[in-house]
Symmetry: C2
Subunit: 228 residues, 2 copies
Amino acid sequence: MRAPKETFSYPYPHPAVTTDVVVFTIRDERLSILLVKRANPPHQGEWALPGGFLAIDEDLDACAARELREETGISGVYLEQLYTFGATHRDPRERVISVTYYALVPQDALATPRAASDAADVGWHPFEKLPDLAFDHADIIAMAHQRLVAKLDYSTIAFQFMPEVFTLSELQCVYEVLLNQSLDKRNFRKRILSLELIEETGKLRRSGKHRPAREYRVKHPKRVEIIK
Amino acid sequence: MRAPKETFSYPYPHPAVTTDVVVFTIRDERLSILLVKRANPPHQGEWALPGGFLAIDEDLDACAARELREETGISGVYLEQLYTFGATHRDPRERVISVTYYALVPQDALATPRAASDAADVGWHPFEKLPDLAFDHADIIAMAHQRLVAKLDYSTIAFQFMPEVFTLSELQCVYEVLLNQSLDKRNFRKRILSLELIEETGKLRRSGKHRPAREYRVKHPKRVEIIK
DNA sequence: TTGACAAGGTGTACGGACGACACTATGTTA
DNA sequence: TAACATAGTGTCGTCCGTACACCTTGTCAA
């Protein structure tokens, strides 16, 4: 962070614009969110979403991706604009408009994200027991969660949580965690396979003292399709 | 518009923030959008969405509602945030982030919206044959239309197009226009009535030389519910 | 007055999708 | 080789969505 010597002037007051990102993953069969502990005021020492100020020549999507990469080391993941929060006093420093995003990262990636310069700490927190959050970030998370669950129903967004290869049981587990209910194994498999979006790798996954499971992969891993 | 004497300075460059609104209605059995002709540069003389700069102490929703009221005289209608557009060169003057909204207005309201000071003209344009538009407003309209059609399926948003009392044939016509396909009368009525969201007024609508239709009203006109 | 007109209003039957439900298969390990 | 633990599989009933045609009722003109 450099200390600028010049200032930037406008005939009318301008708000600051930031992006903030709600990063979801599934860890230990729990939906979890990535938070950073703020190293500086305001809300110093409190947990917050990764995010920061928009550069003047930077696209919004690029800003969200950059902040995510800088503050947590995560990149190349599914990232979608969520909503723009702009209540007048949501930031005590000045008027700040936050264009929020949500991201989905596979289970195995980034077991321990790294903390950046302006973050005292970075860590995964189960959605069910989040700490108190800075600014209006709890509202942002609530909306992101609502959107995520809604999209499960009519898109293939859940595959964004999966690693490159996975078993049907693992996939079912992801759906069960997100929907917070158990699903019938036969119906689940019937529905997923009928979408014809995943294919067998031909290999088997051996783990524990039981029958090995077939491994699958997503045919088009980056694509999120609307179904039904 | 006053000419300010002071200027506003920041240690880092700040973008300007605007709201723009896509106003839909149904006129003469066509989906139509309200556009204003720009009185000032840039894009002077071109058609654009109603909208304008965010006041520094104004909430985003309030800004969208105010701009809509000031530029077109419309108020009290359904208004929902759509998406935030922020490509770096979408406005030639300076960096501008636009938080966009869409609004739905009943068929009969505002047959002739009034033009405001910074608009040379205001008028309804059929969605199927829009003129060339200023900035990236064509993209904004495309996204608003997509959202509107998607919401038809899983919400009661279509009622926002209806006047206080209406007939089932009129309601069906709205759905047919939005979905761009004709619907079976019996199935349509069965589905709508099973929602139990509208009730008979007890009156009949006489028009033309045929059997009069029953009038209905929405039980909770301001509410947009998620169905299914 | 009556008959033609034009839109309003109504019920049934079929097919497909979804949900409930229980047992066999297979590799591991003791 | 037997117990264990998870993998993997098919049927049947129900409900919902869709297809489909005729009678009703007020108006208007002859």
